[in-house]
């Protein structure tokens, strides 16, 4: 058993559990999720809607909806260093947590309009974000905002800084969203479906931009997506999530060459193939993701699994993949490495 990387992670999620309180009862959205983010690496987090990938991001940043709570586990910033900070133990609205958001961990949303106000110019919002973190003064903050917009690939940033978000195309708005996320100079970025709302040519541009910024600044990037194509293009390591668990963790090449979990295999089969023969049927994953309050007993994937072991998968739950190791939470797959 060896860790995947010899570098120390900058953020470690350990056995994280999140529960939402609803009228119909409590919903366990995350169960024992463990992840590591490393400087200069891209962790891809992939799964269908409802798998808990966005909840993981929101739990790390402590911006869960009011009815959601972390019930177990920890989120360690700078683990193993003297400055180690357990974010899950901080009050969500504490000054330290606010200092972490933006300054240490930047967030990029699917719809950049969610992070931008319609009533203020692009520049006002980025300048405010800069001055919140460390105020260099108004003129210097404006110069820095122009530099950030330029870094985010916005043409003529010195004029674009004075426009309102609604005057920009979807692609430019996402570039502004990226500039906003970088305003506090974070070393960790969480991008939640950053290109899902974009056209394919714009998506390629935004992904290339994210890749370049992440490499240049040695940022630890957590990229959340439902799209295996985006994963293949961007990720170094991949966590596949299903119903609030990480069901497989692997380096990207291994994941695509030899997926170990039946769910990962099903996800890969359902990707449209640009080389398909005409009218070749596209495989789909049988059944649907169960409602979160009707979680199946045993392995959560067993009702949809083509390789289900009778008498076992419906009863026993496979152990989670030990953190830092590659492998799958499946009775068929031995944990390797």
């Amino acid at each position: 058993m060896r860790p995947i990387l010899m570098v120390e992670p900058v953020l470690s999620v350990r056995d994280l559990a999140v529960t939402f309180h609803q009228d119909q009862g409590n919903v366990r959205a995350l169960e024992a999720v463990s992840l590591d983010l490393f400087p200069g690496r891209v962790l891809g987090v992939v799964g269908e809607s409802g798998c808990g990938k966005s909840v993981t991001a929101r739990a790390i940043l402590r911006i869960l909806d009011r009815n959601g709570a972390i019930t177990a586990g920890s989120v360690l910033l700078d683990p193993g260093t003297p400055g180690e900070l357990n974010l899950s133990a901080l009050p969500a609205e504490s000054a330290r947590m606010r200092g972490v958001r933006g300054k240490r961990i930047g967030l990029i949303f699917q719809e950049p309009m969610a992070s931008l106000s319609m009533q203020y110019t692009v520049g006002n919002q980025i300048i405010e974000a800069i001055r919140q973190h460390r105020d260099p003064g108004k003129a210097a903050a404006r110069a820095q905002a122009i530099r950030l917009l330029g870094e985010a690939g916005i043409p003529r940033p010195e004029t674009r800084i004075d426009v309102y978000p609604f005057q920009l195309s979807g692609g430019l708005r996402q570039r502004v969203g990226i500039a906003m996320a970088l305003a506090g100079d974070p070393d960790i970025l969480i991008a939640d479906e950053p290109t899902t709302a974009l056209d394919v040519t714009t998506q390629a541009q935004i992904l290339a931009l994210l890749r370049r910024l992440q490499r240049d600044k040695q940022i630890a990037l957590m990229l959340i997506t439902h799209d295996m194509g985006v994963i293949a293009q961007m990720a170094d390591e991949v966590a596949v999530m299903y119903l609030g668990r990480v069901v497989e963790f692997a380096p990207v090449r291994r994941l695509f060459a030899a997926p170990a979990h039946p769910y990962t295999r099903a996800l890969l089969r359902s990707v449209p193939n640009m080389r398909a023969t005409p009218r070749q049927r596209l495989a789909t994953i049988g059944g649907a993701v169960p409602q979160p309050n009707a979680r199946p007993a045993g392995c959560p994937f067993h009702p949809r699994c083509p390789d289900v072991i009778p008498g076992r998968c419906a009863v026993e739950t496979p152990a989670p993949v030990p953190h830092g190791r590659e492998g799958a939470a499946c009775f068929h797959a031995a944990v390797t490495a």
Binding site: S49, S169, G170, G171, L172, D199, V200, T201, T202, Q203, A204, Q205, L207, A208, D227, M228, G229, V230, I231, A232, Q233, A235, V252, R253, F256, L268, V271, P272, N273, M274, R275, A276, P278, R279, Q280, R281, L282, A283, T284, A288, V289
Partner: protein, 321 residues
């Protein structure tokens, strides 16, 4: 024999300004589109936001009235009817023959109706008796792969993909001659089955899923068709740089092909101020002087393969064969 012939379809919107609300310009959302769909054929109409693909679909469904052009629909009795100028009243008897599968299965299903009633609604409206209606709903549920118990349940009990199947079952209830599907991505396994949906105009924003469903593909850019070809030819040997850009920009689900992704330059042009000449020229890596001045017409470059590119014959563009 074609089920649908669209000839010279245009939809322009006036840009008004000033005190007198005078027309100062026009957005040519759709500008001279020709399409035909043969019996049993699926044609995909592909393009990015603002290209006019949804406007074309809405004109064919006559949710919009075209500014110009003909929409020739071949009716059951062999007559050819131009839908473009028809009034709402004249359209009513034809509606049952042209059905729509919506992009958003959540918004298109009445949450207070049981699934069986949703599917039966078009039958009821068209005076089908209750015994026949019951049998037809059973057959339709089976056809789209939903369990028979779905009949008495409400839409909220179903996932997005299942709701899309409900929408498909409803669209097929009256055996329409033409189905227009606006990016019904989550129920692809259903729409791919040729025996279920045979006459289809499939509107999509990228080329990924289209490969699995279409016989022919039309690619739109800024209101016009820039390339049209049988699916294998379009992917294998694109003859328009925009099609090649769409193919190159699509993420490849293979980490070994990471470097094969080509990042296109520029942004989709503003439709209120379209570029001169070829609308794609500011983003085209192959643009020459003529592209900036003269608008290329869609012309045959090979058998059944059409391209609106001045340089279609001299360029060798990368496909995905």
């Amino acid at each position: 024999m074609n089920v649908l012939d669209v000839v010279g379809l245009s939809k322009h919107y006036p840009i008004r300004s000033g005190l007198l609300h005078r027309e100062v310009g026009r957005v040519r959302a759709v500008d001279g589109v020709d399409l035909h769909i043969a019996r049993g054929e699926t044609l995909a109409l592909v393009g990015e936001s603002g290209c006019g693909k949804t406007t074309v679909a809405r004109c064919i469904l006559r949710a919009l009235t075209p500014t110009a052009g003909e929409i020739l629909f071949s009716a059951e009795d062999g007559r050819t009817i131009d839908l473009a100028p028809l009034s709402r009243r004249a359209l009513r008897p034809l509606r049952r023959h042209i059905q729509m599968i919506f992009q958003d299965p959540y918004a298109s299903l009445n949450p207070r109706m049981m699934v069986g009633d949703i599917i039966a609604e078009p039958l009821t409206v068209n005076g089908v008796g209750s015994a026949e209606r019951h049998a037809r709903v059973t057959a339709l549920l089976d056809l789209v792969g939903l369990p028979a118990v779905a009949r008495t349940r409400f839409p909220h009990a179903f996932s997005g993909g299942q709701r899309q199947r409900i929408g498909i079952a409803r669209a097929l209830a009256l055996n329409p001659r033409l189905v227009v599907a606006d990016e019904p991505v989550s129920a692809l396994d259903v729409s791919v089955q040729a025996q279920i949906v045979n006459l289809l105009l499939f509107v999509a924003h990228d080329l990924g899923v289209v490969r699995h469903v279409a016989d022919r593909v039309a690619v739109m850019y800024l209101g016009r068709i820039v390339e049209l070809a049988p699916v294998t030819d379009l992917y294998g040997e694109p003859r328009h740089p925009y099609t090649a850009a769409l193919l190159g920009a699509a993420p490849k689900a293979d980490p070994e092909l990471r470097d094969a992704v080509a990042v296109p330059m520029g942004e989709i042009a503003d439709p209120t101020r379209p570029p001169t000449g070829c609308a794609f020229h500011p983003r085209c890596p192959f643009a020459v002087d003529v592209c900036r001045v003269e608008r290329p017409d869609l012309r045959a470059v090979a058998d059944g393969h059409w391209s609106a590119c001045h340089r279609a014959d001299e360029l060798t563009l990368a496909g995905v064969t």
